[in-house]
Symmetry: C2
């Protein structure tokens, strides 16, 4: 695999490139310009992958990809880019810039172009993710690791559902995935288990779908018979929001302010508002053995809190990328879970995740208190790459 | 309102701007750069609106907005930009470029920045639309025209539903909007009418939501008591697609090829596959008086075809931005509709729409054949601005 080009090696090129570009005929942006040529990008051709973008007036264009620093402790390229090199792109005919690299390892990578100081997504590529207001283009390299990130032929439905939250004081939105077959006449008496899947800080009810590819992963695992057909509920974990900021639908100001002050309000609403809504509106089994809860980072913290506050509610407990401690209250919470009983305690963290030391403490505290559990670790950091991999590992363990 | 600056007036500026920018300290994109400053854009401050973007290394930055040519016969800025001027932006501190304009009239406008030859959306603005692979930032100027494009406090659910299409030979996706209250216990015996809402060429099942703001418009009209609570079904009108290309879920190749050859296959699937699915999975009244069909452009053509092929199926018929003719078959289709009976025939077109002459013919042919109808016209072209306005006008007329 091509090594990422570092700055010193490119110093000469860095000086020459802008001059070479200036030598090209340039149009000023205040003149009338034709629409850019039809571009196909990215093109994965076996061991080589080519990226292209039309930027006829640009001075320099480069490519930044998440594969350049896969273990990085962050979500997107903006921070990564301060830590790693970039791949310069070459101006070709019609102002189309391109570069060809060795195809990265199988994974769902993200990338951006960096054009004269501005990060832009690949406009030719329909696969795009939103992370906050950042737009990341997707390079899905097929292979073992990414085999469940696309390609299912049996698809569950994704429902954007508004529900009332008396606990928080306003109506809120959640995503509800129902598995393939849920709507089929033959299954109208079938009741399903439910995974409550929680997001991290800065994310919302859309993020497990947009960044985590939850429907693709669930569709594939269920179609292959590796995971039980299940409902997956993805609430919004920001107590003062009604829904993703992208919708621009604000919660009532007073209620939002109160929600901000309502410690653990969200996890109370999860048990008091969301679970009853799901159990009265979907064909589910309203018992702990048919409920799982999992989440990443802040959502891992929510997983720890809600299981401690409501022991015996969830039989499957799967925090990811978060940690525990030996404080009296925390241990008391764990002992409550132990007493109530559970079927699976599955903790996951990347070994270069900043939350790994805390996860290791949680692993130890669970052991010290005689609580059977799995501590699933792999390389990598606090990244969506790992959240997807963990989800893919976890779903087959649930409800069995 | 500020007039759009035209090219000749800016010729001097056009020459000077790049030189002025070059005089600024520039970083090369191959060096390590800090993330861009936190930008707020756009900022509507009464009569003035300011746009900003961080582009520290750019030579020229300008703003292109759909308000510059609101009557244009196209969907987005790419074509518009070849026809209208642009507004130059000024480089400020930290490489942040900005411009302040007179706030355009109330409307949902779209805009892009044009940075050294590349169109980019406003990364600071969470309101974004996808039109094909183009990303358009939204400037929602509040006022009478746009009052239903946001702001409802009672929200219906949007469901992304996979259904089997025996007619086309594969599973396909549609969006199904269920109105506020549909899920409420008190309404579990209420049955609803259904609008089948069809998209235009180049669009898919996502476009009425992304570009047409259908949930916002329906939520507002229903909450205000102006429209009946209804279910809105938005199928994918491209017979060879399983779903929006953004999902990258292909239909089986053989079935897709057959679907391409299957003339009117989509409209047959609408009646034979989609209506039965909706009527067996949702609480609806399975009668013509509780079914409406509408569509824009290609979807207007589908509306004409499906009502001619299946007279008596829909009592509310609302083609938009499309036309008729005096061919024998076409008139025979209309007479079949007349014979079967209908409650509303509502035709809409913008007076500068390229489809307007054809719509005028349809208006005349309906009159000549003694078919009561409304020909709703206004200024403007074959644009999403008009499709939203037509939807907002039409929903209150249905099921009354």
């Amino acid at each position: 695999m091509m090594t990422t080009k570092r700055i010193p090696a490119l110093l000469t090129l860095a000086v020459l490139l802008p001059l070479a570009a200036l030598a090209q005929p340039r149009q000023n942006n205040l003149t009338v310009v034709p629409p850019p040529a039809r571009i196909v990008s990215p093109v994965i051709d076996g061991a080589k992958t080519t990226f292209s973008i039309s930027a006829p007036q640009a001075i320099t264009v480069s490519l930044h990809g998440s594969w350049m620093n896969p273990d990085d402790n962050c979500y997107g390229p903006l921070v990564q880019d301060t830590q790693v090199g970039v791949i310069p792109m070459t101006r070709g005919e019609n102002g189309v810039w391109s570069c060809t690299i060795d195809t990265p390892a199988p994974e769902l990578w993200t990338y951006n172009f960096y054009i004269d100081g501005v990060y832009v997504p690949d406009f030719a590529n329909p696969l795009i993710q939103r992370d906050g207001t950042r737009l990341l283009s997707i390079l899905l390299v097929p292979g073992k690791l990414s085999e469940n990130y696309a390609g299912a032929t049996q698809h569950g439905n994704l429902n954007m559902v508004w529900y009332d939250s008396p606990t928080l004081g306003f109506e809120r939105r959640m995503y509800v995935y129902t598995p393939y077959g849920y709507e089929a006449k033959a299954n109208q008496k079938t009741k399903y288990p439910v995974l409550y899947l929680l997001h991290g800080g800065g994310c919302d009810e859309d993020t497990w779908e947009s960044m985590g590819r939850v429907t693709a992963i669930a569709d594939n695992l269920i179609q292959k018979g590796l995971a039980k057909p299940m409902i997956i509920v993805m609430p919004n974990g920001n107590a003062s929001q009604s829904s993703s900021p992208f919708l621009q639908i604000s919660a009532p100001a007073d209620a939002a302010a109160a929600a901000r002050q309502n410690r653990n309000g969200y996890i109370h609403s999860l048990v008091k508002d969301i679970i009853p809504y799901i159990e009265s509106h979907y064909r589910v089994v309203p018992k702990a053995d048919y409920r799982a809860v999992s989440g990443l980072s802040m959502g891992g913290g929510h997983t720890l809190s809600v299981t401690a506050e409501y022991p015996g509610t969830f039989s499957y407990i799967c925090p990811m990328g978060c940690g525990g401690n030996r404080n009296e209250d925390f241990v008391k919470g764990l002992l409550g879970i132990k007493k109530a009983g559970y079927k699976l305690y599955w903790l996951a963290a990347g070994t270069s995740d900043f939350a790994y030391p805390g996860a290791k403490v949680l692993d130890e505290v669970l052991t010290e208190n005689g609580m059977p559990h799995t501590f699933y670790t792999k390389n990598g950091g606090h990244t969506w790459s790992n959240w997807r991999i963990f989800l893919n590992e976890m779903l087959p363990l649930l409800f069995k």
